[in-house]
Symmetry: C2
Subunit: 216 residues, 2 copies
């Protein structure tokens, strides 16, 4: 596999989209596709697609295009979807519960092994076959099971103290829904922030400034 240490974050962020689109094509029986066709479907330029995939060594054949299932497989390998990173969820409220129940962790690089909360009312109940554990047991659980990734679905006020514990316990990656910004404080961990509110406010702007209706 080619070295790709200097791939920009914006290219990386497009890889899951390629992976999704290729999955749809494979499902619909499309076995090969040109970069031009793929670009029309994805709303990118063909040259952008070629550039993106060249970061990882190409994969296309002149005059043939891309083999959809092969390309999908290779992008999946680059994304590490088979990594099975041991993962814990911190916070079993509405968002934590929905994430635990709806996300296809095992096909996206993760293996969900624990869910923690602070509320005595839900500790001991189950989500997706996993017992919700007391956050007080975090240290003993991590020493035994060595999770590598944590999903933060706890309130922002509670996040700083828990993140400090998690970093000490060796967590390397965070899927962060808490709105607590800790990238400067802990430069050695990787953090993927999810700000649903930013997305909602973007929609507010788009609805307010939608002049597509008048033009149609």
């Amino acid at each position: 596999m080619p070295r790709h240490e200097r791939v920009s974050l914006s290219v990386i962020r497009r890889l899951p989209r390629y992976y999704r689109f290729l999955g749809d094509l494979v499902k619909n029986g499309v076995t090969r596709i040109s970069s031009r066709e793929l670009s029309l479907r994805m709303g990118l330029t063909a040259s952008q697609i070629r550039q993106d995939l060249n970061c990882f060594g190409g994969f296309g054949q002149q005059g043939y295009g891309y083999n959809t299932s092969l390309l999908r497989e290779k992008i999946g390998a680059i994304l590490g979807i088979d990594s099975g990173n041991p993962t814990i969820i911190i916070g079993a409220g509405n968002i934590g519960r929905a994430i635990a129940l709806n996300m296809d962790f095992s096909n996206m690089g993760f293996n969900l092994i624990g869910i923690f909360d602070i509320s005595k009312e839900i500790i001991g109940t189950e989500i997706r076959g996993l017992e919700i554990l007391d956050i007080a047991e975090l240290e003993s659980f991590c020493e035994e099971n060595h999770p590598r990734v944590a999903v933060l679905t706890l309130p922002r006020e509670a996040a700083p103290q828990v993140v400090e514990r998690l970093v000490k316990l060796g967590i390397e990656g965070f899927w962060n829904f808490s709105h607590y910004d800790f990238s400067v404080k802990y430069p050695n961990v990787v953090i993927e922030n999810v700000h649903l509110g930013d997305s909602l406010m973007t929609l507010s702007y788009l609805v307010k400034n939608n002049d597509k209706k008048e033009n149609s």
Copy 2:
């Protein structure tokens, strides 16, 4: 207010971030900030920030910087956070329920007025004081209440048929968690897609390729 029809989507997407950061500053008693200070906190360049805000007419004063609460207020107005767009949620499963319970709709430009589902088991129960309605009542509800925005938290397979009904009923904006891609089919509506799986796979890549630990 200056015209800003040609503002690029990447600038628009940064506005909610400015809004959040400024909210934190105001909360912490910071009354003014230079573009340089703001840039350090946000991980952008100072010139990027000046450029972004100039799209909307500026707001800074040479040698003084930005008045944090005034700038926040103006960005909020640009985003339309007071719009109160009448909004319905389609799909009261785990994600729909979490969104209904956790999102601060009223402070982000929306007014949640209805929640719909297809499952007889949950129709008639309440979320956040709203009764879950039968999707069969969608037409009569919309004719009476004129929602402008729909949150799609229904399964992808069910989305095409429901989206067709919603567009006919005059829905102009969609917050789309369904993974159904309908931007080409309905070019006159605005769509904000949320793909949590893309974010999770990006994290998978980042964890796999994290060499920060070795360098530290």
